[in-house]
Amino acid sequence: MSVSKRLQVLVPEFRPGTVLPGKWRGHSYRIMRLVGRGANGTVYQVLRDRDVVAIKIGENAAAIALEYERMRELTASLGTAGIIPELYDLDDVEHGGEVYPMLAMEFIKGVSPEEFIDIRGREWIPLCLTKLLRRLETLHAKGYAFCDLKSANLLFDPDTAEPRLIDFGGLTPIGQAVREFTELYDRAWWGRGTRKADSHYDMFACALLGLQLLTPISPTDLERLRTRRPADRNAFLSRRCVSEIKDGQLQTILNKALSGQYREPAEFRMELAALWVNDREENRGNMGGPLKMTSGSVGVRKRARRKWDMTDWGLLVAVAVFVVTMGTLLWFGSL
C-alpha cells in the first residue's frame, strides 16, 4: 500500500528472447543480452523492431525520465554529433502484469579505455584524453558538466580512437551539486575541491582517468583510503604523482590538472596535444604517423610485444607439417 513501493518497483532480470511490449509508443523490444548493471538500472542489448538498440530499465521512473529529458535537451542543442547516444523512446514496458519504466537509445560498440590502451599502447593516452576533453568542453559550453566521468562510462572505438560517453544520468547543470559520482574520480573525495558541478570537476576526473590508465591505484590502497580523511587522500595523491613515474612529461601534465593549475580544460587539452605531437616527431618513422589516425583513418598498430597464443603455435605446427609433407612427397617423387 505504501507509495514507496509503487515508485520503486523491483525489476527482474529478463532472459534473452523475452519480448517486452512498450505501452505508449507501439514498439516492442526483444532482449538479446544483458549488457551491464548500474545504480540506476539495467542495460540490455535488444531488437527494437528490426534495429539493434540499447534499453535501460530502472526501478525509478523519475530517474529514467530525467535522464531521458537531459539527453533530449542536449540532443536538441548539440545535434547527435556523436557525443550523446542517439535517443529513441521513453516508454514503459509490460511484463508479467507489471510495468517497468525504460528508455531506448543507440547501442554503442567499443572497448573500455583500459582495453584500448592495451591494444594501442600507453603513448595513446594523451590522444584519448584530448578527444575526451574536447567532448566535455562541448557539454560545458552548453552549461552542463558530465560529472560521473569514469572508465566504466566510456567506450572507445578501437579503430578511430573516438571516445563515446555513456550513462548521462550524472549530467548536471553547472553550479548545482553533483548527483552521481564515483569516489575514485571525485575531487571532493580527494580533498581537492567542492562537489559542485563545473568544468574543473570534469577536468579532474579526466586527469584521474589518465593516471589510472598510466599507473592504476591498487584496490588495496583504495580500500585503505576509504577510511582516511580527505586530507590524507590528498597527500597520498601528491606523493604518488612524484613517486611512481612511468612517463614524466605526461605525469607532470596530469599532476597539474589534478592540482587545479589549469584555468580551463582547453589549456589542459592543449598541453596534452603538444605532447602527442612531440611524441610523434621523436618517433617519426617507426610510429607510423599517428596524427593521420586522429583524422579518423584506420591504422591499427598492434603492439610489438604481443605474446604468442594458441593460434600462432597452431599455425607454426601447420607450416612445419606442410613443409615436412612436401619434402617427403618431393623426396618420393625424386625416387
Binding site: A61, D91, A177, T194, R195, H200, A231, N234
Partner: protein, 248 residues
C-alpha cells in the same frame, strides 16, 4: 507553495536487528505522519544483519515512506549520498502525486512519459533548492566497531555533497546505544566536524533502534522550530589551499 520547502529525513545505518524498546517500524510510521521520512541502509559485512534484519530494514523504510538499500561497507559513501538524494525526490514526488491526484485523478507514473519528464524536472529543481534537515541515526553497537572509520568518512563525504547544494542543510548525528546506558545520543556538532561525532563507541549493548529513531525525530522537530542557518558552517576540510582553484 514551493518557496522555502524544508525536507526532513532520517537515515538509519545499521548492521543488525533491533532488540530493545519500541518497534522501529511503528516509530517510522509516526515520524512519517509528522512529516519526517525514514530511509535505511543495511550493512552486510560480518553478517550480523541476517534475514530478520534485512526484513526489518525494509519494513522500517516502507513505513517511513523512504527507501532501503542493503550494501557492503565499501559502498557506503556512494549509497548514503544516493539515498539522501533519492529520498528527497521521493518525498517531493509524493507531494506532487497528491496534487496530481486532486487535479487530474492520476499519479505521475501513470502519465504519458513526455508529461512525466516535466514532473521529474520540476522535482529535480526543488530537490536542489529545498532546505533539508537530515538525522543520521548510526548503530554503534559492538558489531559496528570495525566499520566506524568507514562510517565516519562516509558522513564527512555526505556533508561535502550537501554543502554543494543550492539549498541549505543541517546534518545531525544520532548514535545508539549511548555509552552510559541511554538509548541514544544526539551529537551537537555542525558542518565539517559532524563526522567526528562518530567515534564514541560501546563495546557491547542492546540495539534499541526504535527508541533511537524516536530521539532522532524529536531532535529534528526541535530544530524545525528554531531553524539555524547552516550556510555559514560550510568549512572546507583539508583542502590545503587547493580549494581556491575550484571555487568560483
Amino acid at each position: 507553495m514551493w518557496d522555502g520547502v524544508t525536507l526532513q529525513q532520517l537515515l538509519l545505518i545499521t548492521d543488525g536487528c533491533s532488540n530493545a524498546g519500541t518497534d522501529p517500524v511503528y516509530v517510522a510510521q509516526t515520524g512519517r505522519s509528522k512529516g519526517v521520512t525514514t530511509s535505511v541502509i543495511g550493512i552486510l559485512d560480518d553478517g550480523a544483519l541476517g534475514e530478520q534484519g534485512r526484513r526489518e530494514a525494509e519494513n522500517i523504510a516502507e513505513a517511513g515512506g523512504g527507501m532501503c538499500r542493503i550494501i557492503r561497507i565499501a559502498d557506503l559513501s556512494r549509497t548514503m549520498q544516493m539515498v539522501t538524494q533519492q529520498t528527497m525526490q521521493l518525498t517531493l514526488q509524493q507531494v506532487v502525486n497528491k496534487e496530481l491526484r486532486n487535479l487530474v485523478g492520476q499519479e505521475a507514473n501513470a502519465l504519458p512519459p513526455e508529461t512525466r519528464t516535466k514532473v521529474a524536472k520540476f522535482v529535480e529543481t526543488v530537490t536542489e533548492e529545498a532546505d533539508v534537515q537530515i538525522g543520521l541515526v548510526v548503530d554503534v553497537s559492538a558489531s559496528m566497531t570495525t566499520k566506524m572509520t568507514s562510517v565516519r568518512e562516509a558522513v564527512r563525504d555526505l556533508e561535502l555533497g550537501l554543502a554543494a547544494r543550492t539549498g541549505s542543510h543541517r546534518l545531525i548525528v544520532i548514535t545508539y546505544p549511548g555509552l552510559h546506558g541511554e538509548d541514544a545520543v544526539v551529537h551537537r556538532l555542525e558542518g565539517a566536524q559532524v563526522a567526528d561525532a562518530i567515534g564514541a563507541m560501546r563495546a557491547a549493548g542492546n540495539t534499541p533502534t526504535g527508541p533511537a529513531l524516536e530521539t532522532a525525530i524529536r531532535a529534528l522537530l526541535e530544530s524545525r522550530d528554531h531553524r539555524l542557518a547552516t550556510r555559514e558552517d560550510r568549512a572546507d576540510d583539508g583542502g590545503e589551499g587547493l580549494m581556491k582553484h575550484y571555487v568560483g
